[in-house]
């Protein structure tokens, strides 16, 4: 092959590089190979994404009746803890006042609960910093400066609306997709 390419004009890097048929063929071959490799690699990479059975387990129903005002429970959804908190009127009022406070990730309290169900705050119990479970779901645990939750791992404080107020976490505790199925029952996911 080296011999056949020895014609004078076939020195592509020597100044006036001419585009030859061979250059074109090389390019097409390389492009074909790249597509082929991609087609083989993608199934391997995608096999590591959540599988169908993991995705299928993605909803949970919770009965709210036993949770009295001021109490909170933890339920599992997609392998993660979800905090279901029955807020007291004072906690709701505080969250509303805090709407005007300093919020690193601004969100109104009203947008984080369902209309007419302000007492129920449902958030994913995973610190948005590096994924620890914040303390504060039990009333005996520290709840931080803002009366919501406190993450002991690197010191993030959340308020009574689950919004980040202080510490390294960049975002509010996530509100999972959920809907009320009757007055005292919700379906998460």
């Amino acid at each position: 092959m080296a011999d056949s390419a020895a014609a004078p004009q076939a020195a592509p890097h020597a100044g006036g590089a001419e585009v030859t048929k061979r250059d074109f063929l090389k390019l097409v071959t390389a492009a074909g190979a790249a597509v082929g490799v991609g087609a083989i690699v993608w199934p391997l990479v995608d096999s590591m994404n959540p599988s169908a059975d993991v995705l299928a387990l993605s909803s949970t129903t919770v009965d709210l009746a036993p949770v009295t005002a001021g109490q909170a429970i933890t339920v599992m959804w997609r392998g993660k803890p979800v905090f279901v908190r029955h807020r007291t009127p004072e906690e709701i009022a505080k969250a509303k006042v805090d709407d005007k406070g300093r919020l690193p990730d601004p969100a109104l309290d009203a947008a984080r609960v369902k209309p007419g169900k302000e007492q129920w705050l449902i958030v994913v119990g995973i610190c948005t910093h590096l994924g620890c479970v914040p303390l504060g779901n039990r009333s005996t645990e520290v709840r931080g400066e803002y009366g919501g939750w406190f993450c002991p791992c690197h010191g993030s404080h959340y308020d009574t609306s689950g919004r980040i107020r202080q510490g390294p976490a960049p975002a509010n505790l996530a509100v999972p997709p959920y809907a009320f199925e009757g007055d005292t029952k919700i379906k998460i996911g």
Binding site: P50, V54, G79, H129, V133
Partner: protein
């Protein structure tokens, strides 16, 4: 005998093999007569120790894997069964767990040797970069291994570290879900970590091979940091350094045995003997000691993405070191200022390590910020500038002139005429 290698070995069987596949010739060349600077000190033991350590990890790991079950409901109990019921299981596991710590001790000293004697400088840049890659692979391997017993620290360490990737904008969340194979650290995560924990050590073997291949092109550096000028500066690797390495290996095994038999859990965390519980985070999540300095850098930045980037940069900066250090003199022996600064850098890393193990509050945050700033200052500002201003001491003419009482005889012409040789 066209097509056959001309073997010098007398033993007919060895000769027969060697003529067809010259592995014996290669071993003899690379480990028998290989010309090695005659002035090595004991810091030059640590490469050989690291290799032995890798072999120990693979050997104990393979036998542990015969009794280990990579399932979230069974992993913890299978490790307890290894400890209580499997013949010698306790030994296998303690050697493997403490072997990881020994591995990092050895490799960190090996790297310090490189920093002190300027082994990263031309022509050994690629050799050094391969070393940085080895360190990254070791960190990944050790991290995933620590997840396997599925205790509280395994679980929460895995959670915190994988969540680091969520700091990247847009793709972060997808990367983390992909790493987990779900929506939290769970059974799919444990399975893939086991698979990769088994694989990566063999990748390490490959990179170590390249590391050695590159070493045998440039030859070893030495405590004087000057080039080998001729045969009077070297000794054959065998028996001189096979023996010197053996002495180090004995000391290494004594230290290793002290950990395994007298303090097998000293470097571990009691919390990892509590089965993983996704609902309760331990009050103090602390990584293994060898990750503490990096963890301190991560936490010293109040911004999530910033902390993650800085932590990766602290390793990336090592790969750039051959170009950041502008001094032409290799060994710190002839660099009076650098010689002090390198000790300051070691102290900085120790301070970072201590801070990484403390809760991120009060004085510890301040200290880790100062130490982090100094770490980067050392590599990015001090080293480039120092090389231009430092008054280095005169270098010896040659290794043999410097270390032999007789001065090693006359030098081959030319070399003697360069008293201020710059590396």
């Amino acid at each position: 005998m066209a097509g056959l290698h001309k073997s010098e070995f007398e033993n007919p069987v060895i000769n027969w093999v060697d003529s067809r596949l010259p592995i014996f010739t290669m071993l003899q060349k690379e480990y028998g007569v290989f010309p090695t600077p005659r002035n090595f000190n004991y810091f030059w033991n640590f490469g050989a120790l690291a290799m032995i350590n890798l072999v120990i990890m693979i050997a104990t790991g393979i036998f542990l894997a015969m009794n280990y079950t990579a399932h979230k409901d069974m992993a913890f109990d299978s490790v307890e069964r290894i400890m209580r019921d499997v013949n010698w299981g306790w030994l296998l596991r303690y050697v493997h767990a403490n072997g990881a710590s020994m591995f990092f001790i050895v490799v960190y000293i090996h790297m310090f040797r490189g920093l002190y004697y300027g082994s990263y400088k031309t022509p050994r840049e690629l050799l050094w970069i391969l070393g940085v890659i080895i360190m990254l692979l070791m960190m990944a391997t050790a991290f995933m291994g620590y997840v396997l017993p599925w205790g509280q620290m395994s679980y929460w360490g895995a959670t915190v570290i994988t969540n680091l990737f969520s700091a990247f904008p847009l793709v972060g969340e997808h990367i983390v879900t992909w790493l987990w194979g779900g929506f939290s650290v769970d059974n799919p995560t444990l399975n893939r970590f086991f698979s990769l924990h088994y694989l990566l050590p063999f990748v390490l073997v490959g990179v170590v091979f390249l590391h050695i291949a590159a070493l045998h092109i440039t030859g070893s550096n030495n405590p004087l940091g000057i080039d080998v000028k001729g045969p009077q500066d070297t000794l054959p690797f065998h028996p001189y350094y096979t023996i010197k390495d053996s002495v180090g290996i004995c000391v290494y095994f004594i230290v290793f045995a002290l950990f395994v038999f007298f303090a097998p859990n000293y470097l571990g965390h009691a919390d990892n003997y509590i089965p993983a519980n996704p609902l309760v985070t331990p009050a103090h999540i602390v990584p293994e000691w060898y990750f503490l300095p990096f963890y301190a850098i991560l936490r010293s930045v109040p911004d999530k993405l910033g902390g993650v980037l800085l932590m990766f940069a602290s390793i990336g900066v090592l790969a750039l070191l051959p170009w950041l250090d502008t001094s032409p003199v290799r060994s710190a022996r002839f660099r009076p200022v650098y010689r002090i600064l390198i000790i300051v850098l070691v102290v900085t890393c120790v301070v970072l390590g201590v801070c990484g193990g403390k809760p991120a509050e009060g004085i510890w945050v301040v200290l880790s910020r100062i130490a982090t700033a100094y770490y980067f200052l050392h590599f990015l500002v001090i080293l480039p500038v120092l090389g231009k201003f430092e008054r280095t001491l005169p270098l010896p003419e040659s290794i043999s002139r410097a270390v032999l009482p007789t001065g090693g005889g006359p030098l081959p012409g030319g070399a003697a005429a360069k008293p201020m040789e710059k590396a």
